[in-house]
């Protein structure tokens, strides 16, 4: 039902549902996301590259619910094969994508016959809008005592995010963490007003990382530069040779101003199903397939 209502939500808002390939010649080079190989091709780690190519071709509101494959990601909240909901809006930015997420979740709450005060594993979580927003800079200064925007340290960032910052979020409310350091921009554009900050935001509810939103980067040179930096790091540290997604880079130049977001559907179902284990929402995880 969650899936049905989600599709209905996007249809009602004028989004086109698309399907993009799962077996692809290249994925976005990212140090910590390792794709599975399929006879010289790769299994898709995210539909992002194809959906952006569709945006560049003129489709302005798209969504897709599809499977993604990421090597080495297995845990209570991770399965190497998982379901992702991604949607893109031309003429929008990352903040609009967060509004969409708030609306989507509240629509699901209503259609599922729930109240905005949901019970998640014995904890009451109040989903009433708007959800609290905090910048990465403020969250880290408060919970970890340093500013990752002024002095980026990726390893320390990841560790402190998990061990200090996420535990500092109010357990009874969702948290929107925004304005990531430029070093962790990924495919998001830098803030025109502050080049140390990327227009990237993430939604957390009940210790679940739910969604990752960007104001999409439209500068093909900057995107290529970032990809090449990731590729160099991967070759140096992991001795992994990675291809540059050439057709995607060609499309970046034609991207409209747009916002995009990736939401973990399994995590959403876990939230409404009051479970912290992905095994409860996926019929056959890798260890029981």
């Amino acid at each position: 039902m969650i899936y049905e209502f989600t599709r209905a939500f996007f249809r009602e808002h004028g989004f086109l549902e698309v399907e993009t390939p799962l077996r692809v010649p290249a994925v976005a080079p990212e140090q910590h996301i390792a794709p599975f190989e399929s006879e010289g091709w790769l299994l898709s780690t995210s539909p992002e590259l194809y959906m952006k190519r569709l945006l560049a071709a003129g489709y302005d509101r798209l969504f897709q619910i599809t499977h993604c494959f990421r090597k080495g990601e297995q845990g209570r909240q991770h399965n190497p094969e998982f379901t992702m909901l991604e949607w893109y809006r031309a003429g929008a930015d990352y903040k609009q994508m967060i509004h969409d997420t708030e609306e989507l979740v509240m629509t699901l709450v209503a259609r599922l016959g729930l109240s905005p005060m949901i019970q998640y594993r014995g904890q009451n979580i109040d989903l009433t809008l708007p959800w609290p927003r905090v910048t990465v800079r403020d969250a880290f200064l408060h919970a970890a005592g340093w500013d990752p925007v002024a002095e980026p340290e990726p390893m320390r960032f990841d560790t402190d995010l998990v061990s200090r910052v996420m535990p500092s979020f109010a357990p009874d409310r969702p948290t929107v963490l925004l304005d990531y350091p430029a070093a962790m921009a990924s495919l998001a554009r830098l803030s025109p007003g502050d080049p140390l900050v990327a227009e990237r935001a993430e939604v957390f509810v009940g210790r679940l990382e739910l969604a990752n939103a960007y104001s999409e980067l439209r500068d093909p040179h900057e995107q290529e530069r970032r990809f090449r930096a990731e590729i160099a790091e991967m070759e140096r540290v992991q001795r992994r040779r990675v291809a540059l997604p050439v057709q995607f880079l060609e499309a970046v130049a034609h991207l409209p101003e747009c916002g995009g977001i990736a939401l973990g559907m399994d995590r959403l179902v876990m939230l409404f199903g009051s479970t912290d284990s992905i095994r409860d929402v996926i019929a056959f995880t890798t260890d029981t397939a």
Binding site: Q31, G72, M155, V162, M184
Partner: protein, 190 residues
């Protein structure tokens, strides 16, 4: 032997600063396209103390070189529990701290699987079920009802357990060693 942190799972045995640990729990976190973070809850296999450690993807850890052997529990001496390796007849001891709750289910003569690091026993695997005698329980005057009611009892090992009201002193019951709970009665005192 060095292994990748991503190969570590619950019940892996690791050597950290030359001390053997059991991985009680392994939490995998990977927020926002970042590095994978592994938060391990470790139990020191020598003194039973716990340790929390965080690792990152790409980290390597040392696996404790353990072998599985069969050991027979002989007797208790103070806070030491004496075991004998069944194929070599060598005797070893494990402390009360190392055994933790497992000591409540040991019966003299019982054979258990043991993980040994060289000559040092570091962890035992109890059989899933063990049969123990009830040495103390109250007599209840309530008549049988539809819902099972549990009353407190004490087993021959000194372990306190809940049992159904029909169980009497002298009865032998089967206990699930994983949960420390009553399974069924297997023998009655005549």
């Amino acid at each position: 032997m060095t292994i990748e942190i991503s190969d570590v799972h619950k019940n892996s045995k690791l050597l950290i600063d030359s001390i053997p640990y059991n991985v009680e729990d392994a939490d995998f976190m990977k927020p926002g396209k970042g590095r994978a973070i592994y938060r391990l809850k470790l139990r020191n296999l020598r003194d039973g103390s716990t340790l929390d450690r965080t690792f990152h993807s790409g980290d390597k850890v040392e696996e404790a070189p353990v072998t599985a052997r069969e050991n027979q529990y002989l007797y208790q001496e103070g806070d030491r529990y004496i075991f004998m390796t069944t194929d070599t007849f060598e005797q070893h001891f494990i402390t009360e701290q190392q055994l933790g709750n497992k000591r409540h289910f040991l019966k003299e003569g019982m054979v258990v699987g043991t993980l040994m690091m060289g000559d040092e026993p570091i962890d035992i695997t109890l059989p899933t079920f063990v049969e123990l005698a009830v040495v103390q329980s109250e007599v209840t005057t309530k008549s049988a009802t539809i819902t099972p009611q549990m009353k407190p009892a004490v087993l021959e090992t000194g372990f306190a357990i809940g049992v159904p009201t029909f169980v009497k002193e002298g009865d032998i019951i089967k206990v699930d060693t994983r949960t420390g709970t009553y399974v069924e009665r297997v023998g009655t005192k005549k």
